[in-house]
């Protein structure tokens, strides 16, 4: 299968806030079947790029397309319905919902049960909820969280909350999955589980993009890496190419090694 037909593409994406240029005309091609890393120092614009691609921000310039369909102007919810899904850098779970229910929100958009079954005990609604709960539980198990479905997010340590956030993004079998710092706050064994999950997820038709500060994780799972600095790409390539790029070493990996 041609990896580039089902790619998420951005051409000349430029975004600024009140005169401050956050993204300076970026070209990206996130391909299906690959794990793409997006790295760069704090404030480089990684989350902003995600926000442009998912529709949370409207870039002043540039076009965004997935599998040839232009996405510009589509609101986030419409992009979600096309299977473009993300996780949030700052965990955005609803405190009023249990962990299982939070994950269920990742597939709620497929729900067919109407308003009547929201209020009345109709079998269709009950069946749908059961199915969603089962999918959510399975996603939680895949992420190494088999027993927390009935808890509320606030009862979990931050690392687990982040995994729940990822489970919510994964459960709907997205076609584009963008993870914003999925390993932040995870301990070593959680990170290892996450790595396994991400490897398993990578399939021929999934566009998987990972923003991450954990260099070991990025270097070990990514097929291609984009390095962003001050809203511009300084390098794009395989982990080996990026690791040996002198600019990258200077602005990013260099400072990382000094620490």
């Amino acid at each position: 299968m041609d990896q580039t037909t089902n790619a998420l593409r951005g051409e000349g994406i430029a975004l600024s806030f009140g005169g401050i240029k956050v993204l300076k005309g970026l070209d990206v091609e996130f391909r299906a079947g690959e794990i793409t890393g997006l790295i760069g120092p704090n404030g480089a614009g990684k989350t902003s790029l995600f926000n442009c691609l998912t529709g949370a921000y409207s870039p002043q310039q540039g076009t965004i397309s997935y599998a040839g369909d232009r996405l510009n102007g589509l609101p986030p919810a419409a992009r979600a319905n096309k299977g473009i899904v993300r996780s949030f850098q700052h965990v955005a779970l609803c405190p009023d919902l249990t962990v299982r229910e939070n994950v269920m929100m990742g597939i709620a958009r497929y729900g067919k049960a109407g308003w009547l079954s929201a209020f009345l005990p109709l079998p269709a609604g009950a069946r749908e909820r059961e199915e969603m709960a089962r999918s959510a539980d399975k996603a939680l198990v895949d992420l190494g969280l088999p027993d927390v479905g009935d808890k509320f997010p606030a009862e979990l340590p931050p690392g687990m909350q982040r995994l729940v956030e990822i489970a919510r993004a994964v459960v709907g079998k997205p076609s584009v999955l963008m993870l914003d710092e999925p390993a932040a706050g995870l301990n070593n064994s959680e990170t290892r589980d996450l790595t396994t999950v991400l490897r398993k997820l990578a399939s021929t038709d999934l566009v998987l993009v990972v923003v991450e500060h954990d260099m070991d994780l990025v270097m070990s799972i990514c097929d291609r890496i984009y390095v962003l600095n001050f809203g511009e790409f300084v390098a794009v390539g395989s982990p080996e190419e990026v690791r040996s790029n002198p600019d990258v070493i200077q602005i990013y990996l260099g400072s990382d090694d000094d620490e």
């Binding site: 998912t54 529709g55 949370a56 609101p75 986030p76 919810a77 979600a80 319905n81 899904v85 993300r86 949030f88 955005a92 779970l93 609803c94 405190p95 009023d96 919902l97 249990t98 299982r100 229910e101 939070n102 269920m104 929100m105 990742g106 709620a108 958009r109 729900g111 049960a113 308003w115 079954s117 929201a118 209020f119 009345l120 005990p121 609604g125 749908e128 909820r129 969603m132 709960a133 479905g149 009935d150 509320f152 919510r168 709907g172």
Partner: protein
């Protein structure tokens, strides 16, 4: 509680944990059972007042629902209660049609006008939305008087057609209100478990996350206003039947404020015992105020303030105490 939880389905666990106590279902059942027998123990006037409490509880629930699921405050819900009340009043007095038709009509009108109000105000939040709902409330008495051929103007309408033939009217006014309250509370409890209810909660706490998973903010706002408006109208319909008279005096701006206050003193609770506290407040306080001397309103103001502050700080105090005991 945890070993109790193992005997429950996940959904039951969710509901019981939300209401704080695992026994809340039991409490509600016992309460409803007690209320069923109340008319046999109480005099006619208390039965009548209790019926009004049930009706007002539905209104309090409508306001609390908007807070809990929409994150917004309304000081104009008398607009919806008036819609419902006049649906019942007009159909009864002018056309001799009973609740079978007028309650569904009330619900339909409440939902429709909730949606119609929500669309133009969809981008307003907090105090701006509240002030907009205020405009609704202020318009109500005027509109009632303008349509006096239908509404009876200041005179009002007297609802007297029985709903269940052969049962005394006093009993009907009580039990219809109780049944309506129970039905609405059960429906609202079910909403919590539904896909739509969960989406509303996510949209309230993390609108951008809801957006990213296919729930539009505008959808959330319009939906919750429709639901809250519909329940508000059911409150009005019940008030009309249980209170027997429908007149502009029942739908003043102050009444709208009282509904919000009732919601606050019940801590925005959505369970039957909680909304009943709010409903009792809405029903009894105006009666006591009008009958009492000059100082009593001040005491009520202070008591109200005390309750609100308690509700505001209680969770924090509890949290602080829990942390202390953890440290110890």
């Amino acid at each position: 509680m945890s070993d109790q939880a193992t005997h429950m389905t996940p959904d039951q666990t969710v509901l019981s944990r939300l209401s704080g106590v695992a026994t809340s279902g039991v409490t509600t059942t016992v309460l409803v059972a007690a209320l069923i027998f109340m008319p046999f123990l109480l005099g006619g006037s208390w039965t009548f007042t209790l019926g009004l409490c049930f009706a007002n509880s539905i209104g309090v629930l409508a306001v609390s629902l908007l807070v809990r699921y929409g994150g917004e405050v309304s000081i104009g819900h008398t607009f919806f209660t008036a819609l419902g009340a006049y649906s019942v009043g007009v159909l009864d007095v002018r056309y001799g049609i009973s609740l079978w038709a007028s309650v569904p009509l009330a619900l339909l009108l409440g939902v429709t006008f909730g949606l119609l109000f929500a669309w133009p105000s969809r981008n307003l939040h907090g105090i701006y939305l509240a002030v907009t709902t205020l405009a609704l409330a202020l318009a109500v008495p005027e509109m009632i008087n303008n349509f006096d051929a239908l509404t009876g103007g200041y005179e009002g309408l007297y609802v007297s057609t029985p709903f269940i033939p052969g049962v005394s009217m006093g009993m009907q006014r009580y039990y219809v209100a109780l049944v309506m309250l129970v039905i609405v509370c059960v429906a609202v409890a079910r909403l919590r478990l539904s896909r739509q209810g969960m989406a509303l909660l996510l949209a309230k706490t993390h609108p951008s996350a809801a957006d990213a998973f296919g729930t539009r903010r505008v959808w959330a706002r319009i939906s919750i206003m429709g639901i809250s408006g519909g329940i508000g109208a059911l409150c009005g319909a019940t008030l009309a039947f249980s209170g027997s008279t429908v007149s502009p005096g029942g739908f003043t701006f102050w009444q709208a404020i009282f509904l919000l206050v009732g919601s606050v003193v019940s801590f925005y609770g959505l369970s039957l015992p909680r909304v009943l506290i709010g409903g009792a407040f809405v029903t009894l306080v105006p009666q006591l105020l009008s009958a009492s001397g000059a100082w009593i309103p001040v005491f009520y103001g202070l008591a109200l303030l005390g309750m609100i502050l308690l509700g505001h700080y209680m969770p924090r105090i509890r949290k602080a105490m829990a942390q202390k005991s953890e440290v110890a």
